[in-house]
């Protein structure tokens, strides 16, 4: 019997120790929801108990049912014929199991058939689903689409679509990318035209690389303002699968084989506007992407977890030179680093989801204030949490997805030649991990999203709070190391900011964001160790690994080395 929740000590630790009391009280309207809905919690304890039980159920489904099906799904994938995508029968079984468990719309309010779960709990599910079958996450994780409709749609749209999402009867896709618009979504060209006679919008054009583009309900980014060419001419639309919406082909990919990635052609597809015109990219897609970035972080972490476990198991079983290979320093060093990276990613990810949850609650509360009423405290809170979440989300995505790649790479290395062969899962994890630091914004774009907050020192209040916890002994020594790093980091940030050179700023941004991550995650690891002495060694090892990595990046930033900027052409073109 494997249960991906109960067999994961760190995940259980995270749930038990991440203080969600404020989040849950806000989401549950101080537990007034329990008067209207039988399954709503009556207090925090009740809520946590329900979360744990639901996660245990998902742990069992993912461990017992989904994981054993994943290999065949990877090998055979979905089927495409005559414009129709048919998912693998085992993928359909997976979806059916998750539907039966009633977890296809978990964050939606009770009113629309959801479970009103915080993003944090949803992300834990994401992690387990991905550990079992990374490609399935691309179907399970489309819940962000219903969240977007909930956040920005009309009441009519919500009533129509949300209950379908909640039961899993409808699936969704977000249609953003086009052949010439990937990272640069401002240049999207798909045309939306309004017919005043019928009072109806129509969509014409192409979309590419659309995950689950064969879905029933689509959120589409389209150009509604003729003659514009930037992001402010784009709006968000909802349309449904229909004969005018043609799936032209599905892609053959390196990984995540289980899900169909489609090329779509819109031949005058009837659509409805979602939210206000011209805010498609600037507001709605940004919100959608932020949700998706958290989900991809969870996906990456799930792959890393699965991959690490294979490596650990193989290293213990494989004997060379008359000894299991995990007794050799070169191998156990790899395993130790992999494990620490996973723990670090997890603590950052769930600290992120907690802030994403707080932002969502306060934004909703602020927006629902009766007209004309001012509440400064609420305004400040929603602004503060939005700012913090806007830094943590890309930071998490960059860390989790890069770590997933590193871990999957090392897992193959530990397997040696065997890992290169298809007979073991190691190579699948390696292929599946590879997309995570590309889609929903490459790591390079996560750096762009996070660097502003790093320069403005958005996380300093949080770092200050964490640094003043009562550390003792080894934790105190490690806290002093982090303090030193923080001081140097502030100098580096100042150095780059005062230079006022945009190229140098862009070139050094990744180093600065990564160093910020080392410091912040270092403190999170120390904080976690305060709650459980067995974690002291984990925190210590994290900081000891971080120090030289930090110093290396710090030196690069402070070097004032412009040679890459000045001479890269000579090198690239040689």
């Amino acid at each position: 019997m494997s249960n991906f929740f109960t067999d994961n000590k760190d995940l259980q630790f995270t749930l038990a120790n991440l203080d969600l009391e404020e989040v849950v009280a806000l989401r549950e309207e101080k537990y007034a929801e329990s008067k209207k809905y039988d399954h709503a919690p009556v207090d925090y304890k009740d809520a946590m108990d329900s979360y744990r039980r639901v996660l245990e159920v998902i742990g069992e489904i993912t461990g017992e049912r989904i994981e054993p099906r994943s290999r065949q799904i990877d090998e055979e994938g979905p089927h495409f014929e005559n414009g129709v995508v048919t998912y693998h029968p085992l993928t359909q079984k997976n979806i059916q199991d998750l539907r039966n468990a009633g977890v296809m719309g978990v964050m939606l309010p009770y009113k629309y058939g959801g479970l009103n779960l915080p993003n944090t709990v949803y992300t834990m599910m994401t992690e387990m689903v991905s550990r079992a079958d990374a490609s399935l996450q691309n179907l399970f994780g489309l819940q962000d689409i219903s969240e977007t409709i909930y956040d920005f749609g009309t009441e009519e749209q919500k009533t129509k679509y949300l209950p379908q999402f909640a039961t899993g009867e409808a699936d969704g896709s977000m249609d953003l990318t086009e052949p010439d618009s990937g990272s640069d979504l401002q240049s999207v060209r798909l045309k939306a035209s309004f017919d005043p006679k019928t009072g109806q919008w129509y969509l014409d054009g192409m979309k590419r690389f659309i995950t689950n583009g064969c879905a029933k309900i689509h959120l589409v980014l389209a150009r509604s303002e003729e003659g514009t060419s930037d992001g402010r001419g784009l709006s968000m639309f909802i349309c449904e699968a229909c004969p005018q919406l043609v799936v032209r082909r599905i892609e053959h990919k390196l990984g995540i084989h289980g899900v169909a990635t489609c090329e779509l052609q819109y031949n005058h597809v009837p659509a409805q506007l979602c939210g206000q015109k011209r805010r498609g990219l600037t507001k709605y897609v940004m919100s959608l992407m932020n949700g998706a970035r958290v989900a991809i972080s969870g996906q990456a972490l799930g792959i890393a977890e699965a991959s690490y476990r294979e490596a650990k198991k193989y290293a213990a079983e494989r004997e060379q030179f008359k000894s299991p290979i995990d007794k050799f320093p070169a191998v156990y060093d790899m395993l130790t680093r992999m494990k620490i990276k996973i723990l670090a990613s997890r603590t950052l990810l769930y600290e992120t989801t907690k802030h994403v949850d707080l932002r969502a609650c306060y934004v909703k509360k602020f927006e629902n204030l009766p007209e004309g009423q001012v509440n400064e405290e609420l305004r400040e809170k929603q602004k503060y949490y939005s700012k913090v979440a806007a830094v943590l989300t890309p930071m998490s995505k960059a860390l989790c997805t890069e770590v997933a790649n590193q871990v999957a790479y090392d897992t193959i290395q530990i397997h040696g030649g065997t890992g290169f062969m298809h007979d073991f899962n190691a190579e699948r994890y390696y292929r599946d991990a590879r997309i995570t630091n590309i889609y929903e914004g490459t790591t390079q774009l996560q750096v762009v999203a996070a660097i502003g907050g790093v320069i403005q020192r958005t996380l300093d209040p949080l770092i200050k709070k964490l640094s003043s916890l009562p550390y003792q002994g080894v934790l105190e020594r490690m806290a002093r190391e982090l303090e030193k790093m923080h001081k140097k980091h502030l100098e580096a940030v100042k150095f780059v900011a005062e230079k006022k050179d945009s190229k140098y700023h862009d070139l050094m941004a990744r180093n600065l964001v990564e160093n910020e991550t080392y410091i912040y995650v270092g403190y999170l690891m120390l904080r976690d160790a305060l709650k459980n002495p067995a974690r002291e060694v984990l925190a210590e090892k994290y900081v000891l690994y971080a120090v030289p990595e930090f110093n290396f990046r710090h030196e690069v930033v402070m070097s004032n080395d412009f040679s890459t900027i000045d001479k890269h052409r000579d090198i690239v073109d040689y």
Binding site: P41, N100, A101, L115
Partner: protein, 298 residues
Amino acid sequence: MSYTIIVFVKQVPDTKNVTGEAMKPDGTVNRAALPAIFNPEDLNALELALQLKDRFGAKVIVGTMGPPNASEVLRQSLYRGADETVLLTDRAFAGADTLATSYALSCCAKKIGKFDLILCGRQAIDGDTAQVGPQLAEKLNLPQISYVEEVISLDKNKVRAKRAIEGGFEILESPLPALMTVIDANDPRPPAASRLMRFKKAKTKTELLAQHAGANYTDAEFIEGEMQELKKKSLWINELSATEAGADLERTGLKGSPTKVKQIMSVILKGGTFKKIEPTEEGINSLMHELIEDHTLG
């Protein structure tokens, strides 16, 4: 029309994780040493009942006989979609063999009254007898279809089901009410999250009393109030003692069980010596001879 389906289930020790203390010296199972789980084929029976509910509309009542904490399998049933539950629990039921068990369950079915179908798992993983279902049908004087894989059709007079037989299957039709035993031929649904969040609070009277034990407000009136509140929210697990089930105490539990365990043995399977037999007339004759002597044949 809507049907009433009773599913009888059993909480069993998880025999996949057997340790040395699995059996007591008297030959009965040491339940304390093993984790308790929902008997796997009973989950198949419940799944079949829930599929019938989805297809034709039905009220699904799940019953079990066991110690007070067997209520857990009833909550598990509620998470998956059962409508009502009943727990037969009493010291007088303890130590029952299949005869006494099927008698107790027949009392429970009579107490429930009107029903169209009774479903049981084919057998439980602790005893592996596959007797309780068929015995229960006999006691209730019901037609039975054992080894059911799926139900082909159901109408107000009859059920038509596909059952496994050696080397294939057959389709049988039976008038209602009927009893069916179900094999591992469907994929039991997982607990549904919203039902789990709701029915985790379902309780038996024993559990309600235990929850308030030691508090100074455990007067009858208070408990009655709590009970009504739970009933109103469908969070009540009916609990029946032997007398409440209308059972004859001579026929329940150890007293009502003619099965006597003569001896238990710890059988350890291991490779032993082997003997090579030449493929000649003579060799085969000597093999036959040995097998007959050994009572393996004949």
